[in-house]
C-alpha cells in the first residue's frame, strides 16, 4: 500500500464516512440551530444597548460600556467554561448548549453594540439638526433619519464580526455538545479513524464559506455612495 493509499484510507475512509455521516448531519443541524440563536439574540441585544446608549444617560452608559468591554476582553471559551463549570456551584446547571449560546450571545452583543454605536455616532451632526429643525422628536430623528443610515454603514463590519463569533459554536464541543466538532471528535475516538474530522471540516466550510464570500461581496459593494 502506497503512502497515498494510506492517506486516503485514513482521511477519506468510505466505510467510516458512511457510518458516521448521519451523526455529522445531526451535528450540523445542531450547529445551525445554535448559530441562529446566537445571531438573532446577540444582534438584537447589541442594537438595544446601542439605542439605550444614545439617550446619553451617563450612569447607564458607563454600565453599558463596562459590560461591552468585559465581553470584548474575555476569551469566549473562558466565558463558556465559567458558565458551564462555574454556575453549578450556585445550583444553576445550564446545559452545554445553553452555556455556549449565552456566552456567544453576550460576546456578539458586545461587539455589535460597539459597531452600531460607531455607526450612529458617525452620522454627521447636520442630519440630526435638519431633522430636529423640522420638528422631529429625538426618537423620530433617531429611528427615521439616523439609524437607517447607520445600519447601512454597519452591515459589512457586522457581517464579518458575526461570522467570526458564530464560528465559535465549535467551542461547544468542549462542554460536551454534539455539534459538528463534538460529533466528529467522538466518532474519531470510536472508529479510531480521522475521516469524521474530514467530514466535519467539510460541513463547516459548507456552512461558513458562503457567509465569508457574502461578507467580502458586501464590503466591496456597500461602500456608501453619496
Amino acid at each position: 500500500m502506497s503512502a497515498w493509499d494510506r492517506f486516503l484510507e485514513a482521511f477519506f475512509n468510505p466505510v467510516v464516512m458512511s457510518r458516521y455521516l448521519p451523526d455529522i448531519l445531526k451535528g450540523t443541524l445542531l450547529t445551525i440551530e445554535l448559530a441562529a440563536l446566537i445571531i438573532v439574540s446577540g444582534l438584537a441585544l447589541g442594537l438595544a444597548l446601542a439605542l439605550l446608549r444614545s439617550f446619553g444617560f451617563r450612569p447607564l452608559n458607563l454600565l453599558i460600556i463596562f459590560v461591552v468591554d468585559l465581553f470584548r476582553a474575555l476569551p469566549p471559551l473562558v466565558i463558556i467554561v465559567f458558565i458551564y463549570f462555574g454556575l453549578p456551584a450556585v445550583g444553576l446547571s445550564p446545559s452545554g448548549f445553553v452555556s455556549t449560546w449565552l456566552s456567544l450571545m453576550f460576546v456578539l452583543m458586545a461587539f455589535s453594540e460597539e459597531i452600531y454605536w460607531a455607526g450612529i455616532t458617525s452620522i454627521p451632526k447636520g442630519q440630526w439638526e435638519a431633522a430636529r429643525s423640522t420638528g422631529l422628536t429625538y426618537g423620530h430623528a433617531l429611528m427615521s433619519v439616523v439609524l437607517p443610515q447607520a445600519l447601512r454603514l454597519t452591515i459589512p463590519p457586522l457581517t464579518n464580526r458575526t461570522i467570526a463569533i458564530t464560528k465559535g459554536t465549535a467551542l461547544a464541543s468542549v462542554v460536551a455538545v454534539g455539534e459538528i466538532l463534538g460529533m466528529a471528535s467522538s466518532a474519531v475516538s470510536n472508529s479510531y479513524n480521522p475521516s469524521p474530522l474530514t467530514m466535519g471540516a467539510v460541513a463547516y466550510l459548507i456552512l461558513f464559506l458562503p457567509m465569508v464570500v457574502f461578507g467580502r461581496y458586501l464590503e466591496t459593494r456597500m461602500a456608501w455612495k453619496r
Binding site: 494510506r6 492517506f7 485514513a10 482521511f11 468591554d69 468585559l70 470584548r72 476582553a73 474575555l74 476569551p75 469566549p76 471559551l77 473562558v78 466565558i79 467554561v81 465559567f82 463549570f85 462555574g86 454556575l87 456551584a89 450556585v90 460597539e114 459597531i115 460607531a118 455607526g119 455616532t121 458617525s122 452620522i123 454603514l153 454597519t154 463590519p157 461570522i163 467570526a164 464560528k167 465559535g168 459554536t169 465549535a170 467551542l171 464541543s173 468542549v174 459538528i180 466538532l181 471528535s185 474519531v188 479513524n193 480521522p194 474530522l197 474530514t198 466535519g200 471540516a201 463547516y204 466550510l205 461558513f208 464559506l209 457567509m211 465569508v212 464570500v213 467580502r216 461602500a223 456608501w224
Partner: protein, 221 residues
C-alpha cells in the same frame, strides 16, 4: 456568593498555578502574534502582485481559513495528523493553526492597507530610484499599517484571546491551569481569577480600540 466565586483562601492556594498559566499565555502570545503577522505579511506581499492567477488562489486561501473555525483546525492537526504518522504535540499544533488562521486574517487586513495607499506613492518612490522592496518597506508599508492600525490591533486582541484554545490540547496556559485548579478545589474561584486576569490584561487594548473605532467608521462616511 462571594464565598463561592471569590473564595480568598482558594484564590491564594491556586495563585501559583494560575500565575504559571499567565506566564505561558504571555509567552504563547509572544510566539503566535509574530507568527501570524509574518504569515499575513507574506500573503499581503503576494497579493500586491496584481495578477489574477495570484490574486484568486490567494483570496480562496484567505477565505478558506476565515470560514474554518480555529478550534476545528487545531483538533484536525492534533487529533487527525497522528493517523498520518505525524505526531506534532500541542505546542507545534497551536503554532501551525495560528500561523494559518490568524495569518489569513492579518493578510486580509494588510492587503487592504496596502491597497489604500495611492499608487502615486509608489510611483514617486520608484522615480527617486528606490527598488521594489525598498518602496514597499519604507514608503508603502508604513502608510498601510497606519491606515489599518485599528484592524491590526483588533485582530491582535482576538489572537491573544484565541490562545485560550491551547487549553483544549493540554497546553498549560491560563485557562488550562485555571481548570486544573478548579478540578482540584471543586470551586469556580480559579476560573473567576483567570477571567479577571484576562480582563485586566486586555482591557486597555479594548478601550484603545473603541476610541479608534469611532474614528475608523467616521472616515467611511
Amino acid at each position: 456568593m462571594l464565598e463561592t466565586f471569590f473564595n480568598l483562601e482558594i484564590a491564594r492556594s491556586a495563585w501559583p498555578i494560575i500565575l504559571a498559566g499567565l506566564g505561558n499565555t504571555v509567552l504563547l502570545s509572544l510566539v503566535v502574534v509574530p507568527l501570524g503577522l509574518t504569515g499575513g505579511l507574506g500573503l499581503a506581499m503576494l497579493a500586491s502582485v496584481r495578477k489574477p492567477w495570484v490574486r484568486y488562489p490567494l483570496m480562496a486561501w484567505v477565505d478558506f481559513f476565515r470560514a474554518f473555525p480555529p478550534l476545528v483546525l487545531l483538533i484536525f492537526l492534533f487529533a487527525g495528523l497522528p493517523f498520518a504518522g505525524l505526531e506534532l504535540g500541542g505546542f507545534a499544533c497551536v503554532c501551525i493553526a495560528f500561523f494559518l488562521n490568524t495569518g489569513a486574517y492579518y493578510g486580509e487586513i494588510l492587503r487592504a492597507g496596502i491597497e489604500s495607499v495611492p499608487s502615486g506613492q509608489t510611483e514617486a518612490a520608484r522615480s527617486t530610484g528606490l527598488g521594489r522592496v525598498q518602496t514597499m518597506l519604507f514608503v508603502v508599508l508604513p502608510q498601510a499599517v497606519r491606515n489599518v492600525l485599528h484592524d491590526l490591533l483588533s485582530n491582535t486582541l482576538e489572537v491573544v484571546k484565541l490562545t485560550a484554545l491551547g487549553s483544549v490540547v493540554a497546553m498549560p496556559e491560563l485557562l488550562f491551569q485555571a481548570r486544573q485548579a478548579q478540578s482540584l478545589t471543586y470551586n469556580p474561584t480559579p476560573i473567576v481569577l483567570a477571567a479577571v486576569i484576562y480582563f485586566v490584561m486586555l482591557w486597555p487594548l479594548v478601550r484603545l480600540l473603541s476610541r479608534l473605532e469611532n474614528r475608523a467608521l467616521a472616515v467611511r462616511v
